[in-house]
Symmetry: C2
Amino acid sequence: MPDLPPSTGDSTPKRDHLIATAFRLFYRDGYHAVGIDRILAEAKLAKMTLYHHFESKEELIVAVLVQRSALINERVQTALREAGPSPRKRLLAYFARYEPIFASKEFNGCGFIRAVAEYPDIHSPVHQAVIRHKQRDIDTIQELLAGLGVVEPGPLARQIALLLEGALVSAHTFGDTSALAHARNAALALVKAARRS
Amino acid sequence: MPDLPPSTGDSTPKRDHLIATAFRLFYRDGYHAVGIDRILAEAKLAKMTLYHHFESKEELIVAVLVQRSALINERVQTALREAGPSPRKRLLAYFARYEPIFASKEFNGCGFIRAVAEYPDIHSPVHQAVIRHKQRDIDTIQELLAGLGVVEPGPLARQIALLLEGALVSAHTFGDTSALAHARNAALALVKAARRS
DNA sequence: GCCCTATTAGACAGAACTGTCTAATCTTGA
DNA sequence: TCAAGATTAGACAGTTCTGTCTAATAGGGC
């Protein structure tokens, strides 16, 4: 009987509540700016509960990112399923999914991008968790492009991913929601150009 | 005789050294992660020297960003001057300027984007300093596009800016230099499409 | 020489930080 | 019922953080 549960995604109510509270505060104020005491006070949990489920604050951050990544991926897959089989509708649905996020009053950029900003060392477990998430984003876009009949979807997927990353950053920087529309328009123009060639 | 010098860009050797040291550490490890004690130890300066030139750590961060913004803008203008009058060469020179930055061993993303990530509140003086810098970036791109004869350079400038922001973020996340080439290729395709229409 | 400012080292306060430890209590399944 | 694990509150250590204060010194313009 191990004293500590494995740090994988075991789901218990307290653990989930801890992750949800931590995410909310981290996303609002930043990873270094939020101390565990504030998370525990907000979640109304004791310190030992945190250190029972996680070995360190860093491991909590990783768990937050892993959980968010899974949640976001579920939502993407749901949105794509609801979009039906039309490749063009699927691509538009992919972009449309971001609209409520950008329009939200609580929008504060991308929690993954901001995690990389605070954990710049690529070897950091936090940074690595972001890499896994962002790579899946690119893979999803590539599948959408392949469905559209783009002959070499890899480079175009990277380009469209750049547009979305830029839109997340720019919308946060300027507090301006039009960035998403610009990214979508540019992406559609790139797809059109790729299919023309 | 005021006790403190105005917090504008007065340049003194100690002040400049402080800003240079602070930038190096902030860029390497992050703004919250680096304490003033470490900056002072590295710069071999006393604490009161810092608080003589700046009212707070936050004001130091703003000074770092303002100084970097001025430096970067100088370099851009120099690169564009050296590129000559050809609008296309000027645009390519604008992208080429980023190559050594992305290729540098010390590359750690964009210090301004990372500042926004750590100071997410748009009203923060740090965030505001980033806005001023990034807006000038967009203006510069817009001028380049106007030179190219793009009829409505505003939206296209925003799109190309998104590509560059995305490239900075993605190159840092994945530790991969190809992001810049992808951004440039996409930008050229967008310009081509805009001129065709 | 003289004065004013810049700069120094270092102590100091007060807060916040992560992580550990204890001892009591709650919960739950065997 | 009982035993084991989960959870609690809170003290605690040790570090680090920003910012203030003092008292001494250095240095440059008058």
